[in-house]
Amino acid sequence: MSDARLLILVLALPFLGSILAAFLPTRARNAASFMAGLIGLIASALLLSFYSTLATGQTVRHVAPWLPSLGLDFTLRLSGFTWLFALLVLGIGTLVVLYARYYMSEEDPVPRFFSFLLAFMGSMLGVVLSGNLIQIVFFWEMTSLFSFLLIGYWHHNQSARDGARIALIVTCLGGVCLLVGMLLLGHIAGSYDLDVVLGRGDIVRAHALYLPMLILILIGAFTKSAQFPFQFWLPHAMSAPTPVSAYLHSATMVKAGIFLLILLWPVLAGTQIWYLIVVTIGLATLLVGAWSAIFQHDLKGLLAYSTISHLGLITLLLGLGSPLGLVAAIFHTVNHATFKASLFMAAGIIDHETGTRDLRKLSGLMKFMPITATLAMVAAAAMAGVPLLNGFLSKEMFLAEALESQSGTLLDWALPILATLASMFSVLYSIRFIHQTFFGPPPVDLPHTPHEAPHWMRLPIEILVLACLVVGIIPTLTIGPLLQIAVRSVLGDRTPDYSLAIWHGFNMPLLMSVIALVGGVLLYRRFGGRLNAMTNSPFIGRLKGRRTFETVLAALIDGASALHRMVSTKRLQVQLRILIVVTLAAGSIGFLTYGYSVGNGPTIMLDPIFAVLWILGGASAIGAAVQAKFHRLAALAMVGVAGLSTCISFIWLSAPDLGLTQLLVESITLVLMLLGLRWLPQRLPEFWPGGRTPFNVRLRRGGDILIAVAAGLGAAAIAYAMMTRPEPEGISRFFLEQAYHGGGGTNVVNVILVDFRSFDTLGEITVLAIVALTVFSLLRRFRPAAESVELPVQQKVQNAFDAGREDREHGDTAAHYLLVPRVIMEWMFPIILTCALYFLIRGHDLPGGGFAGGVTASIAILLLYMASGTRSVEARLNIQPVRWISVGLMFAVLTGMAAWLAGYPLLSTYFSYLELPLIGDMPVASALLFDIGVFSVVVGTTALILIALAHQSIRTPRAPKPEKAPDKIPDMEGDT
């Protein structure tokens, strides 16, 4: 008996290992493989501990609600079948890890390989252990992603990159279809919970949406399991390192589709359409794969096509819809995984030790590597279905099922014949694999002299081959109970009687087996010699899956870019115009449909001063718009006037906090812009030929004015209509009533920011920090344009004056510039800082707060810079804005997390009042601590941005020749 929560551990272990492996040093081959192997063993052991529970026919479930309202829970589910499959994933995974330790070269970044492999193992376990349809799709996509990374592991290799890309596109395409299919299935069944869905098979099969859902899910499964016509990605994926092929392309990735079909078999199977689609596709894949495998010259290519063919066989079995077919499918899935993994590993050893995988070059290796040869022979015999091996048992079941199937279509009589034919091909390519590699004359011209592989590298193959033998000879004692648990968990009461005996007497399946074996041998004797000379598979060599794929892809990309050229533009102005015009149109629809009316709520009498204020403000806004092109400074000043009008309006309209903050921010922004102005190019009025503005320019400007006026009118109209209507009851009452009693502050705006909605504020200061770092890193690399680097005219005049007089040093005039205001500005520093702290502390009760305080403090710093100059300030004062930011963020987050200690949710606040002598009652709320964090982030951000800009002026211009000593990368603290 095991706790269901152990499943979380089983699933989490590979991912944890993956992250750990990613941090290992590049050459830590042993450490990485040891850890990966250990994780495989521990997870397998944990999984085995569930055996006694599952043997009683129970299903283990662990549900963690996530979005219960949407039917999305994190559900782990272990039934007999998924247990068997997970064991396969972990067991073969562990063996592959051992194999890969010896296969991977020391030159490769092996920890990265194991990191990907473990992540893939985790994703695969995720697919297998998920008990929720959407969760399955999630992990399914992750397997696609990590298989992409694994196939492309040797990314310096073009064919690896191509293979990875093809595999990713094909499987992700299937993934999208699967997602839609699963959503449909969940919709039909009324739940995304797998167990619920499994219980509603009848409803699902009778539903009108059954067919589209079925097709979508099948596309998902077929792309993953390389079924015809999507089979072409698998042979290209053979550019992966062989351990990847042994793992992904025998036991796991390509079996995911099969897994899904088995998992959903009780729900989806049993209809005529299921039979037709799945049997046809399976049969086509079986034949195409087996036929193509015969003509491959690459060992791994042969194995890839053989895998395709065996996957087709399993699909075909599932398509038959009979319980016995399902038994055979599960059985063959396990068998195929064992013998195919060992064959891939053997192929890897041959490649590793001889330097080639080309069947035409290989020959007579039996003498050089007898043990590997023996192992490969046994595994290949299992693949061919030779008696006393596991492959024989499941193939026998398959042939029996092929005979049994009755659907009333042509398939009834075609199936047994084609099944025998495919088995014959299978025998043929197995013999070719063995005979050409291990027998015949000694090889010539091999890149390496072949020899036996190290013992530890052979061990995984030995274990797998032993499994083939044991299962093949005493099936009832070995695989029998496991298979029974698995089958029972899928079929329940429909579990058929089946016999795993080796000998069923003389019957049709045995006859078909014998025909296949003898036929295969005869065919090889007759045609085997000619195969090496063939460059293409006859008949189906024309089916260029990859070329079709590339053509379709190219057409798609061309079409997309043509469409993009047609409907879009790179020009930002045009895009913005479209955006605003569409917004205007969308806004007008409301007016046009319902008409425009002014409300009759209470209004305030107009104060003439307010009107004057906005005559001024509006005029400046328009003035700024007109002057911004040629008179930047004037435009900036006018924007400032508009900003001040806004600021006064805030105060007028009962928002002192806004007025205060706006005023402070306004000053900072102004300085910022002034600092930026220097780096802009000089702009002179255009000279148009003929002295007249061209028509198209006038047209464009006229259009812009029209849009701008329309936008302004629209905004004014909406604002007026809104303001003249009474305010509906909102959430404000709550805040006003709770601010003091719940939040301990009388300034409701501040209490909202640092208490009620402090999570928003936390997000906001994070944004500030990100902006500051972005600005910093953008300016680090920045070199101003050449014409902006020159000293300004005034400084040149002053320096010339200094140079002309004997009693003056260079820079004296500049140093005494504005001496009196400078002294005053320096004296202001402590005063403004005190003011900033005052704003911060009183913020909870009166206008102020962390934002206002922070901006004030940075104004103090700014004044100091302006008064004394960058160099002299930094010689005396070491401001480290990045530290202010990080400390502030940490302060805010830790304050918020402290609530956890008291058992409250994140960012809950605590407050009380503290009696201080002289000062009196002082509110002490944890929100104040949070506000200190805000303060610190704001100080750091503004200081970082301003200092970064200010530093541009004292930069040395870029060295004219790059071959000179690399110029120093200036940083905030050092570049003075």
């Binding site: 020009r571 102005q573 115009r577 709520g601 209004t603 104060d607 009107a611 906005w614 509006g618 328009i622 700024a624 718009a625 911004a628 092109k629 508009a642 806004t646 309006s649 805030f650 309209l653 009962s654 928002a655 002192p656 906090d657 806004l658 706006q662 921010v665 900072i668 922004t669 102005l677 780096w679 802009l680 190019p681 004015i705 006026v709 936008a711 302004g712 905004a715 604002a719 007026y720 809104m722 303001m723 404000s732 006003l736 601010a739 003091y740 300034n747 409701v748 705006v749 920011l753 504020t761 906001e764 500030l768 902006v771 972005t774 600005v775 953008l778 690399r781 941005i945 800009l949 541009q952």
Partner: protein, 112 residues
């Protein structure tokens, strides 16, 4: 009052939209500044206009009708700080883009 404020929002919006349509980055920065004034005033106006009623409450039982709506104010306060950050970022991006491309056109290349 309402009409004046509505007109003010309108004028700010119109000037701002005109400026963000311009091809030079500095004009766009100024345009965004004007637009953010307009938007901030609009959000504040969504709480309806009140004079002499700042949301600084007493410590006793509170009568919500006596105070201006604090929610739009909190929103605008956030918006002011964020618009400062975006203005700063935009300014720096335009300086960097000017340094990299040699022009202050928004597309990074002059159209003529």
């Amino acid at each position: 009052m309402e009409a004046v404020l509505a007109l003010a929002i309108g004028v700010l919006t119109a000037s701002g939209v005109w400026l963000v349509f311009r091809p030079r980055t500095f004009q766009v920065v100024l345009g965004l500044a004007l637009l953010s004034y307009a938007v901030n005033l609009f959000i504040l106006a969504a709480g309806r206009l009140r004079t002499d009623a700042p949301p600084i409450i007493g410590k006793d039982v509170v009568d919500p009708t006596l105070y201006a709506d604090p929610v739009p104010q909190a929103l605008v306060l956030t918006a002011i700080v964020i618009s400062f950050a975006t203005t700063a970022l935009l300014l720096v991006v335009l300086i960097a883009s000017r340094g990299l491309t040699g022009t202050d056109h928004v597309d990074g290349e002059d159209d003529q």
